[in-house]
Symmetry: C2
Subunit: 181 residues, 2 copies
Amino acid sequence: MLTRKQYAEMRDRTLQFLQKAGIVLTPEEQEAVEVADFGLENLEVEGLQLITYVNTDRYCAKELVLFPRQTCPEHLHPDVNGEEGKQETFRCRYGTVYLYVEGPASPEIQSVIPEGKEACYTVRHEFVLKPGEQYTIPPHTKHWFQASEEGTIVSEFSSTNRDEYDIFTDPAIKRIPVIGE
Amino acid sequence: MLTRKQYAEMRDRTLQFLQKAGIVLTPEEQEAVEVADFGLENLEVEGLQLITYVNTDRYCAKELVLFPRQTCPEHLHPDVNGEEGKQETFRCRYGTVYLYVEGPASPEIQSVIPEGKEACYTVRHEFVLKPGEQYTIPPHTKHWFQASEEGTIVSEFSSTNRDEYDIFTDPAIKRIPVIGE
Ligand SMILES: [Zn+2]
Ligand SMILES: [Zn+2]
C-alpha cells in the first residue's frame, strides 16, 4: 500500500520531470497524477506515474512518466465484452524507453529485469525509443517497458482505456492502486 | 496552389516553432509536415500546419501548428459509412488558441475574422485554451480556431481521421493540398 507521503513525493517528482520537458498540466491534472505500484510495494523498481488527458468511448490519451530504471510490468489488453482489445501507440517524448513485445527474443536486452522476477517478464523482443520515436502495440500482445538511466516521458495514444481488464503476467499484481494514511 | 518554395518555408517555420516548445520529430516526420491552405491561397490567414503521429482504424493523434492569427476554417465531421463522425480533443501545448463551436454566441470574441469571410465563420461560442487546457468537440459539431498573436501548438487526440469527408462552411475550400513547382 502506498502511503500518502510516498504518493505526494512521487507526484512532486513527476511534476518536476514534466516541467523539465516543457509539458504543462492544469492544476486539476496536477492533483490527479496517478502513481501505480501495482500492489507490489516496490514502486521505484516496478511502477509508473501517469496523467490521463482524455478517455472517451472511442479513444484515450495519456502521458506516462517513468523514473530511472522504473519498469511497467508485463501485461496485455484482452477483448472486453466483444470489443477488440486496447491498441496502444507509445511515443517517446523525453529520455529513452526500452519496450518489449512478443516476437523473437533480442540477443541482448538493455533493460535490467527486476531481481527475482525473470518469470514475470517473458517477452524479450526489444525496441529502443528515443524522443520522436514511436511504436504501436497490437491488441492481445504481451508488452512491458523500462526507462533508461535518465528516466523517460512517453505519450500514449490508444483506443478506449479499460485498465481494470488488463492481464498481468505476475500473479501478485493488483492494478487499482490503494493509498493509505 | 502552394509553390514548393512556400511549402519549404512554412515547413521550416513549423519545425522551428515545435523545437521552441521542446517537441521532437523524427527526420521522416520532419519531411512529412503537412501545410494546408485549403485551396484558398491565403495561407498566412487561413491555413494550418500539421504532423500526423498515428492514424489507425480506431484512433488518431496529431500536432497542429498555427502561426500568429492563422485560422483553421469552420468545418464539421459527418458520419462516414454508418460510422459516427470524428470526435476531437484539442489540447493546447504552447501559446493560446481561440476555439469556436456551436452554442450561444459569446458577446465578444478574441479572434479576428478573416476579411470578407464573416459568412464562412458562423459559430461564435468561444473557448480560450492556454497550455494544459483542452476541449472535446462532439461529432457533427461545427468548429473553427485561430492562434493568438504568439501562435499556438495544439495536440489533437481523436477517433479515426477521415479528412477527405470534412464539410467546410466556405464553399471555396478544397481540403487536399496541391503543391506546384
Ligand atoms: Zn499496455
Ligand atoms: Zn475538426
